[in-house]
């Protein structure tokens, strides 16, 4: 089991390395384009371009270029944005990270709990009116565009009903750091959490229900019932345990992608300056150093989340331990 874990971690490092090489090649070694000119930004003078070429070693072989770039990014951390001149890239990413992490973590807690509840209840009363009702609600949750739902939430909590007892506690849009003002942090994020989670509760609830219904066709469920176990125990200790595997797979992918910047729409609607926001601005301005940093950052979280999922598999499913 320990070897399986170690192997998984080593593989993760390999994948990270592969991604960084690929991103580097796409941005800096695409034939027919001068990376120095692209880093220097639009309308840069000849001297700036020459300076950049020297700084980044673009006259040297590719592996050296790659090494220099990674050194700048991770070791010296002095890779500078060329749009906001002089701004280091890494601190900006570091500054945006807690915002996105706070948003996605909180939403993830909500959607995991909500998804489990919806899936388990619906599967337990499969075919009943409650089951059908829950599935319709879940479908509505999946169908609502997040930006629209976010704006509606804002309209209600910031404007229409803001002055009533119900939503007067909701602070103005924006992010409050957890470390300095935990209660404010919580209050500003509750509405964004719910907004982001609704979609995923719908998806996870529906998928979990389908998996549970399928699990109930399995022989081992019949055995569990033949043992005289209570329906609750059959559901939670047998059916759910087995159905969690696809649930966790999905969670790993979604979580990684969201932390990597895909919560952009929610961030924009609620005025949270997170990674999604940062990536979006960098792309608009073709800010190559910033794009490089955010892409590697996003890749890191996707790979990390998947590695965590694989480790979880090993705990949840003993069949994975030997493989």
């Amino acid at each position: 089991m320990i070897t399986a874990l170690i192997r998984r971690l080593v593989e993760m490092l390999f994948v990270m390395f592969g991604i960084s090489v690929m991103v580097f090649l796409i941005f800096f070694a695409t034939p027919g384009s001068d990376p120095a000119a692209r880093i220097a930004g639009r309308n840069a003078s000849q001297e700036t371009v020459a300076q950049v070429r020297l700084d980044f070693g673009f006259d040297k072989p590719l592996p050296v270029q790659y090494g220099l770039m990674m050194k700048r990014l991770f070791v010296d951390q002095d890779l500078k944005s060329f749009v906001n001149r002089g701004q280091n890239v890494v601190p900006q990413v570091i500054e945006a990270t807690p915002v996105t992490l706070s948003l996605v973590f909180g939403a993830a807690v909500l959607w995991v709990l909500g998804g489990l509840a919806v899936g388990v209840v619906a599967a337990a009363v499969q075919g009943s009116l409650l089951d059908k009702g829950l599935m319709v609600l879940a479908l509505i949750g999946v169908s609502m565009p997040v930006f629209w739902f976010g704006e509606v939430m804002n309209l209600i909590t910031q404007a229409r009903l803001h002055d009533t007892w119900m939503f007067s506690w909701v602070p103005a849009l924006g992010y409050k750091p957890l470390t300095t003002a935990p209660w404010e942090w919580f209050k500003t994020l509750v509405i964004p959490w719910i907004t982001l989670a609704v979609l995923y509760i719908g998806i996870y609830g529906r998928v979990l229900r389908a998996n549970l219904v399928e699990a109930y066709q399995e022989d081992f469920i019949r055995t569990a019932r033949a043992k005289g176990l209570s329906p609750m125990r059959v559901m939670l200790r047998h059916a759910l345990r087995v159905s969690l595997i696809p649930f966790i797979t999905m969670f790993g992918l979604d979580f990684g992608v969201l932390v990597g910047g895909s919560a952009l729409l929610t961030e924009v609607v609620f005025g949270l300056n997170g990674i999604g926001h940062l990536t979006y601005t960098a792309l608009l301005n073709l800010d190559l150093p910033m794009i490089l940093a955010t892409v590697i950052y996003a890749a890191f979280f996707v790979v990390l989340a998947n590695a965590v999922v694989d480790v979880l598999y090993i705990f949840i499913d003993p069949r994975m331990r030997e493989a």
Binding site: R7, E11, F14
Partner: protein, 326 residues
């Protein structure tokens, strides 16, 4: 039908198949499973060779190596005297037609959205076995051969019972006009009353079409019924082979004896030889005789040295240091 004089149709010479499991890109990872270990087997035209053994014996893997569905890891494979061990896909093409495989569950190979007419006609068209004008006639002929009414041609696979689906599977294999059919547990998924029909069908087709079979099954009664010669496998090797009735009447290898005695019978039979334990792991097979860990007759020699498969005057081959009745 006399194996000794007929020419070998397919011949395996020290054929091996190893699988690697648990391999990642990390060096040193992965284990070798010796699914088939240096098996030599000659099947002459007109013979039906029954391949028996329990799960893990390598009988299915050997069957798939014979039809080159698997690439053997070692040894030689000759079909009609031509070495096809390392033949490429295109070199294999003419032989693929001549050796067909039939599986336990035919449903998996029958496209559920196609009527039987198309399922059977497809190989005829793809391999241009018959001119287009004759295809319709040939399909009806094939249906007749496997005992399905022509009226069923426009039905879909799900409308058939298990036995009928196996008949469709056989018709598809026959469409290629093969010389050799390797059948892997073709009747084990069927009900007993239907199983007998399909066993009889195999026998009829062999006589009418001059087919050669390699018949893989775990059911010894079925194998005895269809085979002219039986090959008993254990842990990837052949432990005994011989003419069917004499092998069943007087097994020479202790494993064959135990296997036969384990079959539940409706009539009273002699005392049962109860084998202890399970098959050893094919990842780490015993050093001496493969059966030595469970053999009631095993000696120190058996645990040290693996006995070679040796032929007796009567054609029986046994791999045992202390065969029964010797």
């Amino acid at each position: 039908m006399i194996p000794d004089t007929a020419s070998p149709l397919i011949e395996a010479r020290a054929l091996s198949k190893r699988f690697t499991i648990g391999k990642t890109f990390m060096p040193g990872s992965g284990k070798q499973v010796h699914a088939v270990n240096e098996v030599s087997l000659t099947v002459s035209a007109g013979e039906t060779v029954g391949l028996v053994g329990e799960s893990g014996s390598g009988k299915s893997t050997l069957g798939r190596c014979l039809t080159r569905l698997y690439q053997p890891s070692g040894g030689q494979l000759l079909f009609e005297g031509v070495d096809i061990t390392d033949a490429t896909m295109s070199e294999l093409l003419p032989y693929r037609r001549k050796m067909q495989m039939i599986f336990q569950d035919p449903s998996a190979s029958l496209n559920p959205r196609r009527p039987v007419r198309e399922l059977i006609g497809e190989p005829l068209r793809v391999h241009k076995i018959r001119p287009t004008a004759e295809i319709g006639e040939r399909i009806e002929e094939l249906m007749g051969l496997v005992g399905l009414p022509v009226e069923y041609l426009d039905r879909y696979p799900h409308e058939f019972s298990g036995g009928q689906r196996q008949r469709i599977g056989i018709a598809r294999a026959l469409a290629m006009e093969p010389r050799l059919i390797v059948a892997d547990e073709p009747v084990s998924a069927l009900d007993v009353s239907v199983q007998a029909q399909i066993v009889n069908l195999f026998a009829d087709l062999r006589d009418r079409l001059n087919l050669t079979y390699v018949f893989i099954a775990h059911d010894l009664g079925v194998v005895r019924q269809v085979s002219t010669r039986v090959v008993v496998m254990y842990l990837g090797t052949i432990v005994e082979s011989g003419e069917t009735e004499s092998l069943f009447a007087a097994p020479a290898h202790p494993y064959t004896e135990a296997l036969l005695s384990a079959i539940p019978r409706m009539t009273a039979s002699g005392p049962r030889i109860m084998l202890e334990g399970d098959l050893p792991s094919p990842i780490d097979p015993p050093r001496g005789c493969v059966f030595s860990t469970r053999c009631p007759r095993a000696t120190a020699l058996c645990r040290e040295t693996r006995p070679a498969l040796t032929a007796r005057p009567d054609g029986r081959q046994v791999a045992c240091h202390t065969p029964i009745g010797a």
